[in-house]
Symmetry: C2
Subunit: 420 residues, 2 copies
Amino acid sequence: MAKKNAFYAQSGGVTSVINATACGLIETARQHKSVIGKVYAGHNGIVGALREELIDTSKETKKSIAALRHTPSGAFGSCRYKLKSLEENKAEYQRLIEVFKAHNIGYFFYNGGGDSQDTANKISQLSQSLGYPLTCIGIPKTVDNDLPITDCSPGFGSVAKYVAVSTREAGLDVASMCDSSTKIFVLEVMGRHAGWIAAAAGLAKDEESAPPHIILFPEIAFNEKKFLTKVKQTVKKHGYCVIVVSEGARYKDGRFLSEAGEKDAFGHIQLGGVAPTIAEMIKKETGYKYHWAVADYLQRAARHIASATDVEQAYAMGKAAVEFAVAGKNAVMPIIVRKPGKTYRWSIGEAKLSDVANVEEKLPRNYISKDGFEITDAARDYLTPLIMGEDYPPYKDGLPQYAKLKKVMVAKKLKKSFKV
Amino acid sequence: MAKKNAFYAQSGGVTSVINATACGLIETARQHKSVIGKVYAGHNGIVGALREELIDTSKETKKSIAALRHTPSGAFGSCRYKLKSLEENKAEYQRLIEVFKAHNIGYFFYNGGGDSQDTANKISQLSQSLGYPLTCIGIPKTVDNDLPITDCSPGFGSVAKYVAVSTREAGLDVASMCDSSTKIFVLEVMGRHAGWIAAAAGLAKDEESAPPHIILFPEIAFNEKKFLTKVKQTVKKHGYCVIVVSEGARYKDGRFLSEAGEKDAFGHIQLGGVAPTIAEMIKKETGYKYHWAVADYLQRAARHIASATDVEQAYAMGKAAVEFAVAGKNAVMPIIVRKPGKTYRWSIGEAKLSDVANVEEKLPRNYISKDGFEITDAARDYLTPLIMGEDYPPYKDGLPQYAKLKKVMVAKKLKKSFKV
């Protein structure tokens, strides 16, 4: 096998462990120097390849690369840029191949969600037909946990842990003051289409009376009357009610709850997401004092409370991607396979990119209780192992110390620039 | 000294370390059994005394009490109930004394902010005049850090750490995607009157380009034009802008920023706090894509990322309160005294309740930069030690294990009930 350089790009919304994947990939590539030359990372993801903005990771010290394992966000930059279809914009694909050719890149590692796996698959096919065959390996990443085939997606376990821990903690806060103060607490979490993250909040509940008392999933059509009845029952029974709502919660007709609050009858924009919308809805009906929180980026950046299982899997996916490439595999993605048995054990498997691309895995109905407001034991069995273990970053002066890269850019070789 | 029981109550908004104070107090009281009999905790704070709802802490195991050290929120319940002035409602004070008498309570420990210290002081005076002299010791607690005399208030250091860590983490997230996506991130933090918590976010900034780029303090009148100019300059320079805003941020005329968004011209209530208000303001001016987060209770309940310094001080205050009482002191509060020198060292001092009561300590002007948008080195020097050290709770199945108390109620002795 002729020695070629590798290109690695982070794609889409970042997570607290995507850099652990980068760490696994770069460290492993460095162990295969006879086959893989340098690892170039796309500056801001795939856009970096189009613009010929490549970060030379060989200029980073061993220590810096190791520190990526405990550093949240995308260290090389990410983007939400989706390549158009081949018919719509062949020039983009040709440009990619041109850049890869110019820099002797023979390996393409694309670290992202379903869209990105689709792109990686297309590039694999196109590179063949353009006479510059590339080894294309997808690497799973998404806090949304909506990738198919793999047991879970790196990034999810840590958000799940953050949300479960935060729900438990804030729940205790509300419980301790509900007699005379706030009775309603609403926490809004991510998940535009699938309720995996909201479901994870359910892990905080360790006894019947414990929060969260209600979870609102995108998979279950929101019924205001049923919901308000449940809220009132909960306050009557426990003195307070903690609600975790997915940003993607919606009515039967598909309207998001957050949309509902966006404009009033006069067309004025109303601020706020679904948490304040829900809180205000309860206030109107019951008069209960409320508080609400929107974790937003805090949840997916919270490396300080990452799941050790998640970190380990994220690293393993980066490592496996390189090993797949070195073994001559192509157009595949390493996946996590849950082994049968009571104790959680997992191994690495593989999936064809064509099978992964553009499939969105939603929360199965049997993970949601009959009334639609809680998770089931099946969900608990699935979710619990994914948040297990703590993997704390190093601290200095009270703050986590995250990797700072030099990000040395590779000299451009192409004369033409490319506008994205 | 005749042996008497003690009454302990948690007051006002809870924190992630107020139970560490309870732990210090109960553990220490158990070491002084010749003087202090049982420690009764007020169920839901002072209201528990008025209602004669006393929790017998002697029924809790040593292990449960020890677990309070790592348990957030108020384990015995707290309340925002403020006793009226003696002239307005003497009956309340008389009832307290009655309950204390009935249960042979000679020590009154009140764990709260400025209001609570005022109450403790009044009760001390009144008990004298009613012929049932009580030893009244205040114990500092407030995330707002606005108590005078003491160097800091237990509860603050941990919120400060949470806010600084979260700002650093979310800041990395925004930085990694700002080229093609979100350029503005707004984090709303607590602090209705004083900007201590917002200031703590400034600790995340470890180089000129790092977030937070702008902090909005309640102490600095909000100037929309100046603010928007700074936002635009920041995005031009760094590609993105992270803003931390205190919930108490306000205009020159005293209106809260969050109020401004509450009603539109037609009187319709608009949802959301100050973070979405600020984000929308920027969007309108610049068109930049934004995200915002409101940490709300998450910040003050986040025991998982508590400051070890804060936990230690919280425990020490509970311990000192008992030692003060045993030493015959009265109407005082233990305080934290910062020792001079470069290395942070502290000792325990004392303040008269009358000096503490109802004084609100704001952020000094020299802690805020000239332009009003950042913290100064003086602020850093003050704040850094308070967030130092990690004190992780124990975990099981991926989740922190917090104390679960039996909360055995003491049998009532009074015939009359009391409506609060």
